[in-house]
């Protein structure tokens, strides 16, 4: 996969981008291995079914990684340097959900080549994650 390369000069307040993805069982397994977070809510179907969620919940930081993918691959892409990310996990994301990751530029700081974007991760029905990121666009 090749990162997009949106020039800082071409970005303006209100610009947005998005992508769709589905987190699979295998993604969850790989993320647990990578992070070391084997909490049964993410890895044990039997346990997870007995919780209020009724099944395995995607790690919050895996969703955070989708935000990283958005910044690094979509907007601004190649020249991105993520400085700060704040996320609120409003509802659980489940394996197999079709997730739309969307970001919109709400502020562009010329002096330090910095963008502030509002981020959302949602299914067709509901908002699961909202937050903000601050990204520097390198030369």
């Amino acid at each position: 996969m090749k990162a997009k390369d949106v020039k800082f000069e071409d970005i303006k307040k209100g610009d947005s981008a998005s992508f769709e993805t589905i987190v699979t069982e295998n993604d969850l397994k790989k993320f647990a291995e990578l992070s070391g977070d084997y909490n049964p809510l993410h890895t044990d179907e039997k346990y997870a079914q007995g919780t209020e969620f009724g099944g395995k919940v995607i790690h919050g930081m895996l969703l955070g990684a989708l935000v990283s993918r958005f910044i690094g691959m979509e907007l601004p892409g190649k020249k991105a340097l993520l400085l700060k990310e704040t996320l609120e996990f409003k509802k659980p994301a489940m394996v197999g959900d079709v997730l739309t990751v969307k970001g919109i530029v709400v502020h562009k700081s010329e002096g330090v080549r910095l963008l502030e974007l509002l981020m959302e991760i949602r299914t067709k029905k509901e908002l699961l994650v909202s937050g903000a990121v601050f990204v520097r666009v390198l030369f």
Partner: protein, 85 residues
């Protein structure tokens, strides 16, 4: 300077102090123009960039790259801001 201009100026300077206080995690009463990165442990490159970006956003101004890179103290940033209001 007219009364309304003076009020606007004062408000922006108060805003500057609030943003500096929040960005660098120091009490509002400790904000001084003489403060430099050596005096403020939270003044790292990331917090400085976020500080400048927040000033631009809240005060609806833009700094040049030179102004951002040449500022050595809070007072230098304030001076750069003062030229824009």
């Amino acid at each position: 300077m007219g009364y309304f201009l003076l009020c606007g100026y004062k408000l922006i300077m108060e805003k500057f102090n609030e943003i500096a206080s929040k960005s660098f995690g120091i009490p509002l009463t400790d904000i001084k123009d003489s403060l430099t990165p050596k005096d403020i442990s939270e003044w790292d490159s990331m917090n400085y960039l976020l500080f400048i970006a927040e000033l631009e956003k809240q005060c609806n101004i833009s700094f040049s790259m030179d102004e951002v890179l040449n500022a050595q103290s809070l007072g230098d940033v304030r001076k750069a801001l003062q030229t824009k209001i």
